[in-house]
């Protein structure tokens, strides 16, 4: 099995555990405290990763480095709101909806291209993508409207 596929499968497994642990943490702690501990866990992984992986050299590339850091902050903001949602709703339903963010990513690609320039992306949104996005949004509507 190619290493990249193996890594992706490990990632899938880890994200499954993440959803499970997030719900248990949300039941025990207020979102802001759960987030604090979540970040602590991420820092542990970060320390290990710095020790075993090649580290980025940001010399001459401050803007992309800043964008990556802002991306990390956006990730954390999303996790914070997910803790709120998990306290109020069923974990399976909430995570099913929050896991649909790639749909919006695809939908927003044209906007991102306008902002950052076409050179950044080698991706075009096709009609099939559009149909998929529409169906995914419909699924969110059905989940939110039908949940008991």
């Amino acid at each position: 099995m190619p290493p990249v596929i193996l890594y992706a499968l490990i990632a899938l497994l880890l994200w499954g555990f993440w959803g499970f642990c997030s719900k248990l943490a949300a039941d025990e702690l207020k979102p802001r405290y759960a987030l604090f501990y979540e970040i602590a866990g991420e820092m542990v992984v970060g320390a290990i990763a710095v020790a075993v992986l090649t580290v980025p050299d940001v010399t001459g590339r401050p803007i992309p480095a800043l964008l990556a850091a802002v991306a990390g902050a956006a990730l954390i903001g999303g996790i914070y709101l997910q803790f709120y949602a998990l306290r109020l709703g069923k974990s399976g339903t909430v995570i099913a909806v929050t896991s649909l963010y790639p749909v919006l990513v695809t939908a927003f690609y044209p906007v991102a291209v306008l902002i950052f320039g076409a050179a950044f992306f080698e991706y075009t949104v096709t009609i099939l993508d559009g149909i998929g996005i529409t169906l995914a949004l419909l699924s969110i509507y059905l989940i939110v409207g039908v949940e008991r």
Binding site: V4, Y7, I10, A11, L14, F17, W18, S22, L24, A25, E28, L29, R32, Y33, A34, L35, F36, Y37, E38, I39, A40, G41, E42, M43, V45, G46, A49, V50, V52, L53, T54, V55, P56, D57, P64, A65, A68, A69, A71, G72, A73, A74, L75, I76, G77, G78, L81, Y84, A85, L88, G89, V94, T98, P102, L104, V105, A112, F120, E122, V144
Partner: protein, 137 residues
């Protein structure tokens, strides 16, 4: 509308921003290196959060689950972005010694090794002309 939906919708929007910004940053940094920078950004948020909320209450089980949640979430992202050449001391090259996606020899770009190893988008960087003096693609 369900009570949880606004928060879930906010999560979707923020993660969309995360994915798009990561994609932009990935033009300069390899997948896992971008993730390391994201972890740094998360750390800054953590410091600000600690300054705002102070010491969290003592709830060991809740803390345990939340820390595990953090371990799993960022590990998943990290593994998803890993490539064989991501590991220290494993500077993967193709059979003739060239780096993936680049027709130049490793020796010629030794001075740029960190950049080369750093880039999961090596081929794109070569094609962009940034390293055109070292890359023959």
């Amino acid at each position: 509308m369900k009570g949880w939906f606004p928060a879930a919708a906010g999560t979707v929007l923020l993660w969309t921003a995360w994915a798009l910004l990561s994609d932009v940053a990935a033009q300069s940094f390899a997948g896992h290196q971008g993730v390391l920078l994201e972890i740094a950004g998360a750390g800054v948020v953590g410091l600000v959060l600690y300054a705002v909320i102070g010491r969290p209450p003592y709830k060991p089980m809740g803390a345990l689950w939340a820390v595990a949640s953090g371990l799993f979430s960022i590990s998943g992202i990290l593994f998803f972005s890993l490539r064989p050449e991501s590991w220290r001391g494993d500077h993967r090259r193709s059979g003739d010694g060239s780096l993936p996606g680049c027709n130049t020899s490793a020796r010629r770009i030794r001075s740029r090794r960190r950049d080369c190893d750093a880039s999961a988008n090596w081929g794109r960087l070569c094609n962009s002309g940034r390293y055109s003096d070292q890359c023959l693609t």
